[in-house]
């Protein structure tokens, strides 16, 4: 089975392990089978060897030995000295041949391997038997010959005593001849001896005496009778020959036998070696198989080990990350998440757990934070907070609850009823007030609090006002917020005051503006009238009275405008301390000798951007007010200080603090709120305008400063003025007022003024200054004139023309179409007002209404000069 590594790694770990273990176990089983098979083969081969080969070998060996033995007996046979030995040999031989034959019969394959064995054995048997037989015959012949020899010896011995002298008797000679013949080794010599013996016996017989018959008979019997010595010896020799042949024959048979047996043994050997080769081949193939399967086993085992190791490692890493997670470390990357097996499942499941854990952690953290936040809010909000349950028992409250309701510390306990808590409040605070000031029934309110949002106030003895905002809760009960409204009420009062002052300012500003126009017309006309009445003293006196009244009216309107912050100011960098020092004589003159003046100046060289004349005016007003408060005399103190980074009109800046304090009667609290209102006065009617402090207020506010009053009845009043410090400290020298001016020299002025009275007065003044005047009421008319005429030298226009198109628009048009014509602007409004309302950028060229003749002349003059210098205007 071949699996690509990638497809293998996609398998489940269980499948992989199963696969590895299956391969392992199958391999082991095959190994066992192969081993078993090999052992069985070997065992079978061994059995075959034991049952067939070994007996065959031993039998063949025995056979070989015995056949060799058989052949070896033959020489013994020939050398056997006695018949009994021969007999024994014969029996032995027979037994041996029997044994060999029986042995041969027990070897079934012998017939095929050695087909001649039996035949050879029979031949050997017969040959050896013949040999034995021959040998026996030979033995018997030998004994027969010995018998002959005994007889011959007896013959010789019998003749010896008679013939010792002679060399030999014929009998002896013949006997000895026979004796020699009995040992003759060849038939030929035997035949020769025989012939000689016969001849000599014959001659002996013929020559011998009668007494020698016995000898002769004996010799004859032995040498020539039946079965004589020669015959026996001859027979013996022929037996010996035959015996030698038989011996050779047995050797040949024996060799053939050996050959046969050897052939058989060779066959067995070859069979054994063939069997051994077969077994060897089987064993070696078995070994190869075992090696291969062992290798497979090892590979499978290694694979299994590798897999288990990898699994364990992955498990360990997941476990490590789990342990880390358990310790709170959620930033560990989950390993093996991409795997497709159980580890991957585990890792992914763990990932889900981890994400859950992280989420839970985060949620719990968020909750904790939220709860902490809520607790912080609960304990740190400015408002008091209480929660009552549906039975009206106190569940929770924050520290501010105690503070705001002025309850003693530790006086509250959980589960207290709302009535008990109520009882702890001061008497005043037990009354509830609706926002519109109506008194409420407390039980009714407490009942209502459970059902719908309630909003009411309670007032405490020290003037504190506490707002109750109560909301019912979904599961009954209600939660209440307690806000200390005292400060807010104060701020609201201040706001109301400031709004009132604003309205008053606007009102007075509007009235003063219109009144100012009226005065301008009156004043101009009165001036013109005055100039014509030099010859009539009485009308001149009336005219001058009227002019003085107009002058006073003008001053009044100026003060009204000052209060409404619409007066014309020319601020410049001013050092406060020298200013106060400079007006000290004026102050002393104003207050009289009963009042002691004290200076405490600490502003040093700090500068403020303020109109110095108006500042003097304001201080003088305060001085007069203070002196009025000290009819019996007292001390008036002027104090200045440098204030670093204080809150001022919604910003933070350095400021100079000017304080004017007296030791007078003081102002009651009720009056104190209204002191800056115009026409508010404590003096008798006709004794004061009630505009002094109002004007100071308007001036300070217009100068972007602040004014505060502090007074205690019977102890005096202190008024503090804060003026923003000017950044650059270098004080510019005050420009000298130009007092000389040039006349018009019949130059043409186009005057634009919607108010016909002002237009007429202005025209008259211009003409008096020797200007030619073309007076028009609107921009359209002015443009018409400009288009039609080419002799206009200057345009003098009011800014507010009562139409959508104003004087500034006209000036811009002229600048673009007739740049050679300069324009002088005029307005009853302050420069600040103009810049706010009309976007005016330049202050120097606006002539303030109402204007005097000199002011108009100088303004026209300056306009010409500037225009000439610059070659145009910059608005």
């Amino acid at each position: 089975m071949i699996l690509s590594l990638s497809s293998f790694s996609r398998l489940r770990a269980r499948t992989r392990l199963l696969l590895a273990f299956t391969i392992l176990s199958v391999s082991a089983m095959i190994l066992a089978l192969v081993g078993w098979q090999g052992l069985s083969n070997t065992d079978r081969a061994l059995n075959i060897f034991e049952q067939q080969a070994l007996p065959d070998i031993s039998r063949s060996l025995e056979l070989a030995e015995r056949t060799a033995n058989l052949a070896a007996i033959a020489p013994y046979v020939t050398s056997a000295g006695t018949p009994y030995m021969l007999e024994g040999l014969s029996q032995t031989l027979k037994a041996k041949i029997e044994k060999v034959l029986s042995l041969a019969q027990r070897i079934p394959q012998l017939d095929a391997a050695a087909p001649n064995l039996q035949k050879l054995l029979q031949r050997l048997d017969s040959t050896v038997n013949e040999l034995i037989d021959l040998t026996r015959q030979h033995l018997f012949l030998r004994e027969d010959l010995r018998e002959y020899e005994y007889r011959l010896r007896s013959l010789i011995d019998g003749t010896e005593p008679f013939d010792t002298v002679h060399s030999a008797t014929p009998v002896t000679r013949l006997a000895e001849m026979l004796m020699t013949a009995s040992h003759s080794q060849s038939a030929d010599s035997l035949a020769i001896t025989r012939q000689r013996f016969i001849r000599q016996l014959d001659s002996f017989h013929r020559s011998a005496a009668g007494g020698a018959d016995h000898d002769y008979n004996e010799l004859y019997a032995v040498g020539a009778g039946p079965e004589n010595l020669f015959d026996l010896r001859l027979k013996q020799l022929s037996l010996e020959q035959r015996s030698a042949f038989l011996l050779a024959s047995t050797r040949a048979i024996s060799e053939q036998l050996s050959g046969e047996v050897q052939h058989f043994v060779d066959q067995i050997q070859s069979r054994i070696s063939h069997e051994s080769q077969r077994v060897g081949a089987a064993v070696s193939s078995g070994k190869t198989g075992i090696l291969l399967i062992s290798f497979l086993c090892i590979v499978a085992a290694l694979g299994g080990v590798w897999m288990v190791r990898e699994l364990v490692m992955n498990l360990a890493s997941v476990t490590l990350v789990m342990s880390r997670l358990a310790e709170g470390d959620t930033h560990q990357q989950t390993p093996a998440i991409e795997r497709s097996d159980e580890i991957g499942d585990l890792a992914r499941a763990f990932q889900v757990f981890r994400e859950n854990a992280v989420q839970i952690d985060r949620i719990s953290h968020d909750l904790q934070e939220q709860s902490h936040l809520l607790e912080t809010v609960f304990t740190n909000i400015n408002d008091g907070l209480s929660v009552f349950d549906r039975e009206g028992r106190l569940i929770a409250w924050n520290p501010q609850y105690l503070l705001i309701l002025e309850l003693p510390q530790d006086s509250l306990q959980k589960g207290m009823s709302i009535e008990q808590v109520h009882g702890l409040l001061s008497q005043e605070a037990q009354e509830s007030w609706a926002l519109d000031g109506m008194a409420l029934d407390k039980d009714e309110v407490n009942q209502m609090r459970r059902q719908q949002p309630q909003h009411f106030e309670r007032h405490f003895a020290n003037g504190r006002v506490v707002e109750f905002r109560s909301s019912p809760m979904p599961d009954g009960g209600f939660v209440t917020l307690y806000s200390d409204l005292t400060e807010r009420k104060t701020v609201e009062a201040q706001l109301r005051q400031s709004q009132k002052m604003e309205v008053l300012g606007q009102l007075t500003g509007g009235v003063a503006h219109d009144f100012n126009n009226l005065l301008a017309a009156m004043y101009g006309n009165l001036q013109l009238l005055e100039s014509t009445l030099y010859d009539a003293p009485k009308p001149l006196k009336y005219a001058r009275r009227a002019l003085a009244s107009a002058e006073r009216g003008k001053n009044l309107t100026q003060r009204l405008l000052a209060f409404s912050r619409k007066q014309h100011l020319t601020p410049e960098p001013t050092a406060v301390d020298p200013l106060i020092e400079g007006m000290l004589d004026l102050i002393e003159y104003s207050v009289g000798s009963a009042i002691k003046i004290k200076l405490d100046l600490g502003a040093a060289d700090w500068l403020v951007d303020v109109d110095p004349g108006q500042l003097e005016n304001a201080l003088l007003n305060l001085t007069i007010n203070s002196s009025a408060a000290m009819p019996e005399g007292g001390t008036l103190t002027f104090c200045t200080r440098q204030c670093h980074a204080i809150a001022l009109n919604g910003g933070v800046s350095d400021a100079v603090h000017i304080e004017v304090s007296d030791t007078g009667c003081g102002i009651s609290e009720a009056h104190l709120r209204r002191v800056f209102e115009p026409f508010f006065t404590t003096k008798e009617i006709g004794q004061g305008s009630g505009l002094g402090l109002s004007m100071v207020y308007g001036f300070v506010k217009q100068s972007e400063g602040d004014i505060r009053v502090r007074s205690q009845q019977g102890q005096g009043t202190t008024i503090g003025i804060y003026l923003r410090r000017k950044a650059e400290s270098a004080a510019l020298p005050r420009a000298d007022t130009v007092t000389t001016f040039n006349y018009g020299q019949n130059r043409c002025v186009l005057m634009v003024e919607d108010d016909h009275q002002v237009r007429d007065a202005g025209q008259a003044l211009l003409e008096k200054l020797e200007y030619r005047v073309i007076a028009v009421a609107s921009v359209d008319e002015a443009l018409q004139q400009l288009n039609e005429r080419d002799d206009i030298d200057i345009v003098f226009t009011d800014i507010n023309l009562g139409t959508a198109v104003n004087g500034l628009d006209l000036a811009k048009k002229i600048d673009s179409q007739w740049p050679e014509i300069p324009v002088l602007l005029t307005s009853g409004l302050s420069v600040q007002h103009l810049s706010e309302q009309y976007g005016l950028q330049q202050t120097g060229i606006v002539l303030a209404k109402p204007y005097k003749l000199e002011e108009l002349a100088m303004a026209l003059d300056n306009t010409f000069t500037r225009h000439t210098d610059q070659g145009g205007r910059d608005l």
């Binding site: 007996i73 013994y76 000295g81 006695t82 018949p83 009994y84 030995m85 021969l86 007999e87 024994g88 040999l89 029996q91 032995t92 026996r136 033995l139 018997f140 030998r142 004994e143 010995r146 018998e147 020899e149 005994y150 007889r151 007896s154």
Partner: protein, 199 residues
């Protein structure tokens, strides 16, 4: 190695015994002939030749030239000896001196010879049915020989008996020898079958 060897002296003692026996033969007359058939075992053995010679000389002393002595050799072959005995009887021998090839193998022939009136003397070895037997004390001879051997070996050693034909003299000598050897614990008898025609 032969344990016992028949010397001339032994043969002469046999001869003396033979003479005593001869003296008891009633049929021998002074004038008459005496024919003796002698069947020995081996004429190649001088002992037997001496027996034959001794008997022949004694016969010649008794009857002079009338003594007829026929010497044959059985070559230890029972059948041949039976034929020889029968031949002796047929020749009308007066007496047969018999070195039997077998103790009981020739009994029938011996009995037949005796029925025919021939005296049968067993010489050197016993023969069943013989009229008389003349032997040496072969048991004692075996004992003496082997006692000597044991002494020469110093009571310790391995011994082999080269046996001979199954005749009484040989059997007795082997028995005597074995009896001595059995009394010597240091002597180990390895075999007593060698020489018994087993190759």
């Amino acid at each position: 190695m032969k344990i016992t060897k028949r010397g001339m002296r032994g043969a002469r003692r046999v001869l003396a015994a033979l003479l005593l026996a001869g003296a008891a033969i009633p049929s021998v007359a002074a004038e008459k002939t005496l024919s003796i058939g002698i069947s020995v075992s081996d004429l190649g053995n001088p002992y037997f030749i001496q027996i034959a010679r001794g008997a022949e000389m004694q016969a010649k002393q008794l009857v002079g030239d009338n003594a007829e002595v026929v010497v044959v050799s059985s070559a230890y072959d029972v059948k041949r000896q039976i034929e020889q005995i029968e031949s002796f009887v047929a020749q009308g021998m007066d007496m047969i001196l018999l070195s039997a090839a077998s103790y009981d193998g020739v009994e029938t022939a011996v009995l037949k010879a005796r029925q025919a009136g021939v005296k049968v003397l067993a010489v050197d070895v016993k023969a069943k049915g013989a009229d008389a037997t003349i032997t040496t004390d072969n048991v004692q001879a075996g004992m003496i020989a082997c006692d000597y051997l044991v002494k020469q070996l110093g009571g310790r050693g391995n011994v082999v008996i080269i046996n001979g034909p199954k005749v009484s003299s040989v059997k007795d000598r082997v028995a005597g020898c074995k009896a001595v050897l059995a009394q010597s614990p240091g002597i180990q008898l390895l075999s007593s079958e060698i020489g018994r025609a087993h190759v």
